[in-house]
């Protein structure tokens, strides 16, 4: 079996007396899609925050990426090493055009030196996520939700990441848009990206995930094959509560 690309070990994030992520440990293999589920407030997004150190670092614990510790690096260094992330909300640079949103990312990498090459790479990233070519010069802030999500994902993909952290990419989308998002996630994975996917749309999570991890109150309560995990009584109890 190949070495894990990402190892999270005993990761903890505290906000005063509240422990949002409590000693979480897991490994992710190259090319895998690890689904992450859990009730609201279970620490899913905080886990992504602590791994990427945006907007805050972990309180304790270690993150290894390709065998090297990254939990002590600056957040922009973590991104440059190859861990990209999208936000739950469509976090684009609203006053920049769609192509400039992606160009900003390309310019942080060593993927191209000439400006024309950088533009070509930005166009390639937008094409890859299925963003319409006719809208490249539109201000990203004026786009509808689905297209803003595509711009955000294109920006992350433009980093050429080994690991992509997607935080609720299907939130706020229509059924047909969720289908397109499902196809996009699968396509990115086929291109070799390892994906950590936080999602509330369980059907999407079940279909694309190789393994599923469930968090509750900051702790991992189940990890394994998606079908087995969703049948786990502890998981059902976390979502639905204890029968009266």
């Amino acid at each position: 079996m190949s070495e894990p690309v990402l190892v999270v070990s005993d990761l903890t994030k505290k906000f005063g007396a509240l422990t949002a992520v409590d000693g979480v440990s897991f490994e992710v293999r190259p090319g895998e899609i690890l689904g992450i589920a859990g009730p609201n407030g279970s620490g899913k997004s905080t886990l992504f925050n602590a791994i990427t150190r945006v907007p805050f670092a972990q309180t304790s614990g270690i993150v290894l990426f390709k065998g090297a510790q990254i939990s002590n690096l600056a957040n922009n260094e973590i991104a440059k090493r190859g861990i990209a992330r999208t936000f739950q909300r469509e976090s684009v640079f609203g006053n920049l055009s769609s192509i400039d949103n992606v160009l900003v990312t390309i310019e942080q990498t060593n993927r191209a030196s000439a400006f024309a090459q950088k533009i070509a790479l930005a166009e390639q990233a937008l094409d890859l996520v299925g963003f319409p070519a006719t809208l490249h010069n539109w201000q990203a802030g004026r786009l509808p939700v689905y297209l803003r999500k595509l711009v955000m994902i294109a920006g992350a993909v433009a980093l050429d990441p080994a690991v992509l952290l997607l935080d609720e990419p299907a939130s706020g989308l229509t059924v047909s848009e969720i289908d397109k998002m499902r196809a996009l996630i699968t396509h990115l994975n086929e291109l070799g990206m390892t994906i950590l996917l936080v999602e509330h749309v369980l059907s999407l999570l079940m279909e694309v995930s190789d393994r599923l991890m469930v968090l509750d109150q900051g702790r991992v309560i189940a990890l394994g094959d998606p079908a087995t995990v969703v049948a786990n009584p502890t998981v059902i109890e976390a979502y639905l509560g204890t029968p009266a």
């Binding site: 907007p55 991104a79 609203g94 949103n101 310019e107």
Partner: protein, 295 residues
């Protein structure tokens, strides 16, 4: 009012507007990028004037205007970065950053003003005119210095606009201004970009100080009035775009100039604040405003 008087007041208003545009744009760069109001901007204007005087004037080093302007630009850029590292950076990401930086930038301004007093003394100084003579257009003679100021301010603002719109650093600064977290995730070095934004702002303030120092007497507190005008411009015009404070500055300059002519010098601040109050009442985000901070 004769045509000559009208043109004279108009040209005075445009010169004032150009200077306010330079001051306010520098202030807006920091507000847009870091989300704080820099109360030391007036002290930067004064410091730029003193550095310019020190390098250019015959009574000091006497190296002329090219050396004076270049030294002001470089020293003020570096001073801005140093100031940001000392007075702003320790408070970044703190919950109370806005209140804390009101105090720290005011403290920084006081320190800078007293340092200028120690170094250059209390006696007022003035930078010699950048251009001598007059240029006659029709019946009106314009001061060569005024025309030089307008041209140079236009060049500086044009360069700053090009820097922000067309270069990698500028694009990155605009991205950080709009969404810090997303910028960090895209690999942008946010602390470096914040420092560069502050350096750019201080350099623009310094250049404004140099120009104002060629038409007014320089003393350690002479940045206070320009700071107030820059504040009016930024609030009045909003910061929707890099050009918003520039348009607003021209309006403020013209209103000030015509108010002084018709109502007298002491009515000018009242008129400007009244205008600002009316605009804020009708359009709280400013005349060209917009709720999102951007560059």
């Amino acid at each position: 009012m004769s045509v000559e008087s009208f043109l004279f007041v108009l040209s005075g208003g445009i010169v004032l507007g150009a200077l306010y545009a330079l001051m306010a744009s520098g202030l807006a760069v920091v507000w847009s990028t870091l989300g704080i109001f820099n109360f030391s901007h007036g002290a930067f204007i004064a410091l730029g004037a003193y550095i310019g005087w020190q390098v250019s004037n015959a009574e000091a080093l006497g190296l002329g205007h090219v050396a004076g302007l270049s030294a002001t630009l470089v020293v003020m850029f570096a001073a801005g970065i140093l100031f940001q590292q000392i007075f702003i950076r320790p408070f970044e990401r703190k919950d109370n950053i806005i209140a804390a930086t009101v105090i720290t930038t005011l403290a920084g301004a006081t320190i800078l003003q007293n340092a200028m007093l120690l170094i250059w003394g209390p006696r007022a100084k003035q930078i010699v005119a950048i251009a001598e003579g007059t240029i006659s257009i029709g019946p009106v003679a314009f001061s060569g210095n005024d025309i030089a100021l307008i041209v140079m301010v236009a060049l500086i603002l044009g360069f700053a606009g090009w820097l922000l719109a067309r270069t990698r650093t500028g694009r990155s600064m605009r991205a950080v201004a709009q969404n810090r977290q997303a910028a960090e995730l895209m690999g942008l070095n946010v602390p470096l970009l914040y420092a560069l934004a502050f350096g750019l702002s201080a350099a623009m303030a310094g250049m404004a100080g140099y120009f104002v120092g060629s038409i007014r007497f320089i003393n350690p507190t002479f940045g206070a009035d320009p700071l107030m005008k820059a504040l009016i411009v930024v609030i009045f015009g909003g910061i929707a775009r890099f050009t918003s404070p520039i348009y607003a500055a021209l309006i403020v300059g013209l209103v000030e100039s015509f108010t002084i002519f018709y109502l007298g010098l002491y009515w000018a601040p009242a008129m400007l604040f009244a205008m600002m109050t009316v605009v804020l009442t009708i359009k709280p985000s400013g005349l060209f405003g917009h709720h999102q901070r951007t560059l």
